[in-house]
């Protein structure tokens, strides 16, 4: 029992210290002592992340800290994930998000920011990367039973891919099951409306918009 508590503290502190190596180490320990992987995430990693998030909310920590904490947590989850699958367990998350930069576009820093903030907010984020063809978004969304698809485009010439994705979502029958949100420097609210997608002007509002749209869907 004491050992378990110690490992949970290590997981929590690794996130609070933004220490990825320590987080991976603690995750391995958790598996070794046979800890429930869901508990390791919820009572260890998430607890640390929540604390960082609250300091961020008060302005005492910056966005770089929040992202570092989220990335630290993700590194640990990568270690724990196989065990979750093996036990056929499910994490309690706000929602599952598939996110990527559309085909033809390799600008991904904004998309990365959104990924990190969604993770920090309690979403399970599947970041498919950059220059991602439409089918890949659809495929992944089906695989993880996504509630949200996020597609980013920085260049005007790549925004048509966001429309292509919107059409593909409709065609594949996913439209009723998920929130489709677009963003990126080349995207205007008018464009989003035209293609029938939600829109957020920056990473912080993306989290807010997704949360409120999911609430409406419930």
């Amino acid at each position: 029992m004491q050992e378990k508590q110690a490992v949970l503290s290590e997981l929590e502190n690794a996130v609070k210290d933004f220490d990825r190596e320590a987080a991976v180490e603690a995750a391995r320990k958790a598996l070794k002592i046979g800890m429930d992987p869901i508990e390791a995430i919820e009572k260890g990693l998430t607890k640390g992340l929540r604390e960082v998030g609250s300091l961020f909310g008060k302005g005492e920590l910056f966005i770089t800290h929040l992202i570092a904490a989220a990335e630290t947590m993700s590194s640990a989850i990568k270690v724990i994930e196989p065990e979750i699958l093996a036990r056929k367990a499910k994490r309690k998350v706000l929602g599952r998000v598939v996110i990527g930069t559309v085909a033809g576009d390799i600008h991904d820093i904004g998309k990365n920011l959104v990924s990190c903030l969604l993770t920090a907010a309690g979403f399970e984020v599947h970041d498919v990367g950059k220059d991602i063809p439409t089918e890949k978004f659809i495929e992944k969304a089906k695989e993880v039973e996504a509630n949200v698809i996020g597609a980013s485009a920085l260049m005007t010439v790549t925004t048509p891919a966001q429309k292509e994705l919107a059409d593909a979502i409709t065609k594949s029958g996913l439209k009723a099951k998920l929130v489709y949100i677009v963003g990126g420097a080349a995207v205007t609210p008018q464009w989003a409306e035209e293609i029938g997608a939600a829109y957020a002007p920056d990473a912080n509002s993306a989290v807010k918009v997704i949360k409120s749209l999911m609430e409406i869907r419930k």
Binding site: F62, T64, A68, L113, C116, P201, D202, S205
Partner: protein, 485 residues
């Protein structure tokens, strides 16, 4: 908000080359020797005469030989501190550090509640001093406005009273127009410092004396300056040539005439009270040749101020000139671009006291919103003049290798370690249109208004004890009787 340490790492820009510097210096000496200065103060005439100047008492003219002027320059200290009631707020003037000053002394205030312009009050002095106390990188208080709701002949005393009750920072008195004002002001500062010896050791007070162009050492200001110098209180010798009117229309001529004036007053001060800390100060004005209107921050005025900053640096005298100044009537775009250009030029040129925050319409109108906007500009400029620090840590090579061509730096330890070094605005909003609109589509003036209100409502300065307040009130009462009016 981040407050940068006021350190200049960039090499100051030069508007005068070596020949020009020496040309202006030598011609200043020649003007003082051949034409001389008009000296309205009897005491100053006596000091100059006894030191070896050629004095004509009837004409009130003094011709000062170059050796005297140069001797006086050698006696002036090259570096000193402006002390604060709380020593943690002391300011060092040493040519490397930059500190944030204000200008004054205005007569009107743009009311924070109504937005209307009205005569300024003691409450405005108190509130602007309180804001200065709250702003970490604001180093001293200079009364932005004068209290028109109190007897005018004792305005300096009320300005100081409102200041010490609201900030622990250094007080730089604006215009002192009579030696008696200086005497009572010093009395108040002695009370606050805990004695004359304590005040001399740690001057929590400095005082501006404005000379008159062309080449006049006025009576009251000069005598007041001598009173301050007698007690070792730092004096700010200010020149304000108006190009084309009280100074030549050409930049070099106005730099020359202002420089000669400051060398003249420095000679009076240093010959009588050697070692008096003296700040070389310049707030020139440009004449708008179409109408005769004047402007503190048109290019000619800015360049004369910058020329004076360079002259001061060349003499090794601490300087105070130019800064975030404007002839705009409201905190608008004109105010923003004039203040930014003049302020940055002066800081780049090597200004010691920069900032000059808070006023509009040629130092006559206080705007609380502008005070905060100016402070933000000043804070931004401090970051700019820090330059680029290049070393193993700042090159971040290890991190660059670690991240590789396709990663990102957001969550790297190196990023986190240096987050604290990054400039953070107090007012500016970098968010995109949609987010900004959701937050109320506020202009920077709206944001500054809210911030000013917030500071006034929440900031609590260290209070003076009750006996001290009583003592100061007594001195003010004596002063209101004792100062000629």
């Amino acid at each position: 908000m981040t407050v940068m340490v006021g350190l200049r790492n960039l090499k100051p820009i030069e508007v005068l080359n070596k020949d020009a510097l020496s040309n202006i210096h030598l011609n200043s000496l020649e003007l003082l020797e051949k034409m001389g200065v008009k000296v309205y103060s009897k005491e100053a005439l006596t000091i100059l005469e006894e030191s070896g100047a050629d004095v004509d008492r009837k004409k009130q003219m003094a011709k000062i030989p170059p050796y005297l002027v140069e001797e006086a320059l050698r006696k002036a200290p090259k570096s000193f501190k402006l002390c604060a009631r709380n020593p943690k707020n002391d300011v060092k003037l040493d040519g490397k550090h930059i500190c944030c000053g204000l200008d004054g002394t205005g007569l009107s205030t743009i009311d924070l509640e109504t937005g209307e312009r009205r005569p300024s009050t003691k409450d405005d002095v108190a509130k602007s001093a309180l804001i200065i106390d709250a702003l970490k990188g604001a180093d001293l208080y200079f009364p932005s406005v004068t209290p028109l709701d109190f007897p005018k002949h004792a305005h300096v005393l009320h300005e100081y009273d409102a200041t010490v009750n609201n900030t622990e920072k250094h007080f730089m008195s604006g215009g002192t127009y009579l030696p008696e004002e200086a005497i009572y002001l010093i009395k108040m500062a002695v009370a606050v410092a805990g004695g004359l010896k304590e005040l001399r050791e740690r001057p929590i007070l400095s005082a501006v004396a404005c000379m008159m162009s062309p080449l006049i050492l006025p009576l009251a200001e000069t005598d007041a300056m001598l009173e301050f110098s007698k007690q070792g209180i730092p004096v700010v010798a200010m020149t304000m040539p108006l190009t084309g009117a009280t100074g030549p229309i050409t930049l070099a001529g106005s730099v020359l005439i202002g420089n000669a004036q400051i060398l003249g007053i420095n000679t009076v001060i240093q010959m009588k009270y050697p070692g008096t800390p003296l700040i070389y100060s310049s707030f020139p004005l440009s004449m708008e040749v179409r109408t005769g209107a004047f402007a503190v921050s048109f290019p000619e005025a800015t360049m004369v101020a910058v020329g004076h900053i360079q002259m001061a640096r060349n003499y090794g005298l601490p300087n105070f000139g130019g800064g975030n100044i404007s002839s705009a009537k409201i905190p608008d775009e004109q105010a923003a671009y004039e203040k930014a250009l003049c302020g940055l030029m002066c800081m780049l040129a090597g200004g010691d006291i920069c900032g000059t925050i808070g006023l509009l319409e040629n130092y006559t109108v206080l705007s609380y919103e502008q005070l905060l906007i100016d402070y933000e500009m000043y804070d931004m400029m401090l970051r700019l003049v820090q330059g680029i620090d290049v070393n193993e840590d700042t090159l971040a090579l290890d991190t660059i290798y670690k991240v590789g061509p396709e990663g990102h730096f957001l969550a790297e330890k190196h990023t986190l370690d240096h987050t604290k070094d990054v400039w953070i605005p107090m007012l500016a909003d970098p968010s995109p249109y949609g987010t900004w609109k959701d937050k109320g589509a506020k202009s920077v003036v709206d944001v500054a208004k809210e911030k000013a209100k917030e500071i006034i409502a929440t900031h609590k300065p260290a209070p003076l004890d009750r006996d001290m307040k009583k003592r100061l009130a007594e001195i003010i009462k004596e002063g209101e009787k004792g100062i000629p009016h």
